[in-house]
Structure formats: C-alpha cells, structure tokens
C-alpha cells in the first residue's frame, strides 16, 4: 500500500506543479502546454482510483479536444504568444479569498466532515463503463438531457457569435 501512496504523492505533486505553471507562467503557450500535463496527471490519478473510463475520457476530451482548441485560439490571436503576458489581474485579492476558502473547506471535508469525500471509495461494479452508461440513460436521464440541451444552446450561441458580421 505504501508504494501506491508514493505513486499518488508523485502524481499529485506533478499535477499541482503543472497547474502552478499554468497559473504563474509568463508565456501563454507554455501555460497551455503545462495545462496538458496537468490534465494527464489528473487522468493518472483517476486510474489510481480505478476509474479507468473517466481517465480515458479525461484525456480524450480535455487533452485531445479542449486544450487543442485552446492552443488553436492562442495561435490565431496575433502577438499573444509574446513573452510578456500579464499573469495577475486586478481581482487577485478576491480570488485569493476564494482559493483560501476552498482550501479550508476541502481540509474540513476530508478530515472530519462529509462522508462522500472522506469515506472509503465505493465501487459498485468492477467495470465502470457499462454501469455509467446504464445510470446515465435510466436513473439520471433527465440531468443528462439537460446537460445536452445546455451544450446545444452553447453551440448555437457560438455559431451566432462567429457568424455576426
């Protein structure tokens, strides 16, 4: 078990380090590249929690889709790749409060509070993909459809914004 713990700490440190580069890096393309490594670290953590399906989807959607679109947008914007991007904006104080609040909340939840976070991991089935599929199409069909409609609305909105002349 200690080896698994060591792997966890290594992965967690790697993910946090990559995330720190994303937030603090002066070069925006490097930040996007670091974001990819951060997502991969998250996927590895999912694998460690036996959530293989989630890990594969994480890599497929976030790394293979979203980050590539992000890089695409960065490269299409002229001179944004210059090495002097502003890292900290005017709301640094507010976001600092939010970050500290979240940290305190998470520490409280994992040490003494909410069972869903601090309790032992509960895996209903050895194979998660069929279970997730069945749950999404039966018990959670309504939230699933609501999310689909939301995404569709976002897509239509994006097309209208892009076509405005």
């Amino acid at each position: 078990m200690t080896i698994k713990l060591a792997i966890f700490y290594f992965l967690a440190a790697f993910t946090v380090w990559a995330a720190a580069v994303v937030v603090l890096g002066k070069n925006i393309v490097r930040a996007a590249v670091a974001l990819i490594f951060s997502f991969c670290g998250m996927a590895a953590l999912y694998v460690l929690l036996d959530a293989e399906f989630l890990a594969a989807v994480q890599v497929l959607i976030y790394v293979g889709g979203i980050t590539i679109l992000l890089l695409f947008a960065i490269m299409l914007t002229s001179r944004i790749g210059a090495k002097t991007a502003r890292v900290i904006n005017d709301q640094a104080f507010l976001s600092g409060i939010a970050a500290v609040g979240l940290l305190v909340g998470l520490i409280y939840a994992s040490t003494s509070g909410i069972a869903a976070i601090s309790g032992p991991p509960r895996l209903p089935v050895p194979e998660t993909a069929p279970f997730l599929g069945r749950a999404l199409l039966t018990t959670y069909a309504l939230p699933f459809e609501v999310v689909s409609v939301l995404l569709l609305a976002a897509m239509v909105g994006a097309i209208i914004l892009a076509r405005r002349e």
Binding site: E52, V59, V63, I68, F72
Partner: protein, 394 residues
C-alpha cells in the same frame, strides 16, 4: 498453457516466493515489455520506410533504393538511420528550448503508449483493459499535442502553419472517428480489445467470416478515412504538405529528433491499422492448424500473430497505395468532408446499428439501411467535394 500471460504469472509467483516486494518484478516485466515493443517499432518502422520508398517508386515506374544491402536495397533505412544518428543536433536560436526538446518525446510516447492494448495473438497482449479501444483512441489524440508543441516552439512561420492545420484537422476528424468505432463496440457490447476479437469468431451463412467489416462496412470506410487524416497522410497531409509548407511542423528538426518524429509517424500508422484490424477485420481470427511438435496454444498463437500482421500490413499497404495515387485536398474541402459528409454518415450508421440491435436482426432492414446510407453518402460526396472552384471577381 504456454502463453505470454502464463509466463508473467510464473515470474510473479517465483519472485513472490523469494520474498521480493511486488513492485520490483512488476517494474522488471514493464521494462522488458516496453523494450520489446520499442524494438519492434524501431525495426518495423525502418522496414516500413523502405517499403514505402519501394512502393512509391514502383507506382511512379522507378526502382527506388537498389544498392544498400544487396537485395533490392533492403538495408537503405538502416544506413539512413545511422546517418541521422551521426548528424549534428541543431536547436534554432529563436526556439523555445524546453518545448522544442519535449515535443518529439510527447509524439513518440503517445505512439508507443497505444501499443499497450494491441491484441497481437490469442493471449499475447500487454494489458487487456476494459476500456481498451477508448484508451487507444484517447492516447493517440496526444500525438497532435506534440505536433502543435513542435510547430509553435520552432519559431518558424511554416511550422506554426503546419501545426495549426494539424490541430484543425485532428479536432474535426476525431469526432467521426470515435463515432465510427462505436458500431463494432455496440455489436460486441464490449470495449476490451480481446473480447472484440473473440466476438468475431465463426461464420455468417457458412461462407463469410464473422468480421464486423461486413455489417459495419460504412463504419469501416469512415474509420479508415479518418485514420488517414489522423496520421497526416495523403490525401489529408496539409499539416506537412512538402510543396507548400516545406515539411510543416518539423521543418526545424534535424538529426535524431527528426528521426523520432519519423519513427512515430510509422508507429502511428501501425496503431491505426491495428485498430482497424481488431475492430473490423477479425484481429487474429483466421484458419490455423496444430503444428507438429508444438503445444496447441503455441500453434494457435503463432497462426494468430501471422494473421494479425498480414491484415495490419495489408491495411498499411493500402495507406501507402493511396498516398502515392491521390492528390491533396484543399483546407475547405477537408473541413467540408469531415463535418458535412463523414459526421452525418457516422451518426446514421450509429442509429441504424442501434435500431437493428434493439429491434432484432431483420436482415432486410439492414440491407435497406445500408443502401440508403450509401446513396446519401454518394450524393453528399458529389455535392461537396465535386463542387467546382468558384473564382471570385475582384
């Protein structure tokens, strides 16, 4: 049972009996397997390059390499590899050094990682994951990340253009690619590579092998088209179009780093062919005989490996054949083709497959559905790709 999995089990059992903690034998096995796969990729890629040069030469009525090694220049790639190893490693002064060095590693690591779930033969697979096919698709999508990193960090206009084209192409073609793979997954109702192959054993009507390519011919064609685009091969090679972008994202790379990109490209071609073989062409299924003097499992495994490689290399041959006979698509044609032709076809195929699976196997409905699909596909293809170029008046 003298299979690969059995040998590994034995190794674990013996080391456990000696009181060695599990991490050490695990690491030993992982290193050996990764080394074997790496060796296979390097050797296979070298011969694929030689093969590609010979095929292109014969398509263009030339001889191609004939001298090195004696027999039809078989050692040409080895000579080229040694040459590339000895070349100076140049990093441009204006390049972003960290990203520049990291990019070939990302591309090659993504290509190598996809080999984990390739089912070579019955019982011969590095790890049969529950989500095998999803894992392969998602890990292969990392290749594009490496290409963008390479293109941007080179600080070269041609490289950036190549990287951007690559990104646009990969994002567009990944959608129909994943959708087309869902057909076989739905029929077999599993994503494990081994179970997908096992689901294709047996015969249809006593004559046709029970491969998914027959009910899923539309999905197979969509997959193969998208796979060509994912590999950046002609007719979808605008990311590295030699005649307009010099060589796209790897213009600034030289020596060993360039060789790694080259190796990864051919490794990726094999991955793509292996996915197609496993999902559509029955993987290692094929006729086999018990060999005299060998246990049944070993004979079955050898024949399985043989059939798997034959099918894979045939698909790779088709990819090379297409490369040297088709012209390059324009960017707008490329996007039109992905979003307006391939995506609707992939969705229609998915819906029809689902209907047939739920409502039962009415063969008539099937044939009817495929016919309609083909008609729609042909009509759409003629409308979008065959459209003449409009010259705008100034």
């Amino acid at each position: 049972m003298m299979t690969f999995a059995y040998l590994v089990e034995r190794f674990y059992a013996v080391t456990a009996a000696w009181g060695i903690p599990w991490i050490i034998p695990t690491l030993v096995v992982m290193t050996i397997v990764a080394g074997v796969v790496l060796g296979y990729i390097a050797v296979a890629a070298m011969f694929l390059i030689w093969w590609e040069r010979k095929i292109s030469a014969h398509i263009q009525v030339r001889f191609g390499p004939m001298r090195v090694g004696g027999w039809h220049g078989w050692a040409q790639s080895i000579a080229d590899g040694i040459k590339l190893l000895l070349k100076e490693d140049i990093i441009p002064a204006g390049a972003d050094k960290v990203v520049f060095v990291l990019a070939p590693m990302v591309v090659f690591a993504a290509a190598l990682a996809a080999y984990v779930t390739i089912p070579w033969a019955p019982g011969l697979i590095v790890r049969d994951l529950n989500i095998g096919i999803l894992y392969m698709v998602s890990i292969s999508s990392l290749v594009v990340v490496g290409i963008i990193m390479a293109g941007w960090s080179s600080n070269n206009k041609y490289s950036v253009l190549g990287a951007m084209r690559s990104a646009a192409q990969a994002v567009s073609y990944e959608v129909p690619l994943v959708l087309s793979l869902l057909g076989p997954v739905m029929i077999a109702s599993t994503m494990s590579m081994e179970k997908l192959v096992e689901a294709q054993g047996g015969w249809w009507f006593g004559i046709l092998p029970k491969w998914f390519v027959f009910p899923q011919i539309v999905a197979f064609l969509v997959y193969f088209t998208c796979a060509l685009a994912e590999c950046n091969r002609l007719p979808f090679d605008i990311p590295e179009a030699e005649s307009e972008l010099v060589a796209g994202f790897h213009v600034e790379y030289s020596g060993m780093r360039f060789a790694i990109f080259f190796l990864a490209e051919y490794a990726n071609m094999f991955v793509v062919a292996a996915i197609a073989t496993t999902l559509f062409l029955g993987g290692w299924q094929g006729p086999w005989l018990p060999l005299p003097g060998l246990p049944r499992e070993v004979a079955h495994g050898l024949f399985g490996l043989f059939w798997f490689l034959v099918k894979c290399y045939f698909l790779i041959f088709v990819m090379m054949w297409l490369r040297w006979t088709l012209a390059r698509l324009r960017v707008d044609q490329l996007m039109d083709f992905a979003w307006k032709v391939l995506l609707p076809i992939a969705f229609a195929n998915l819906i029809i497959t689902g209907l047939v699976l739920v409502l039962g196997k009415q063969v008539l409905l099937y044939v009817f559905g495929i016919a309609i699909l083909l008609l729609v596909a042909i009509a759409l293809a003629i409308r979008t790709v065959g459209k003449p170029v409009r010259v705008e008046k100034a």
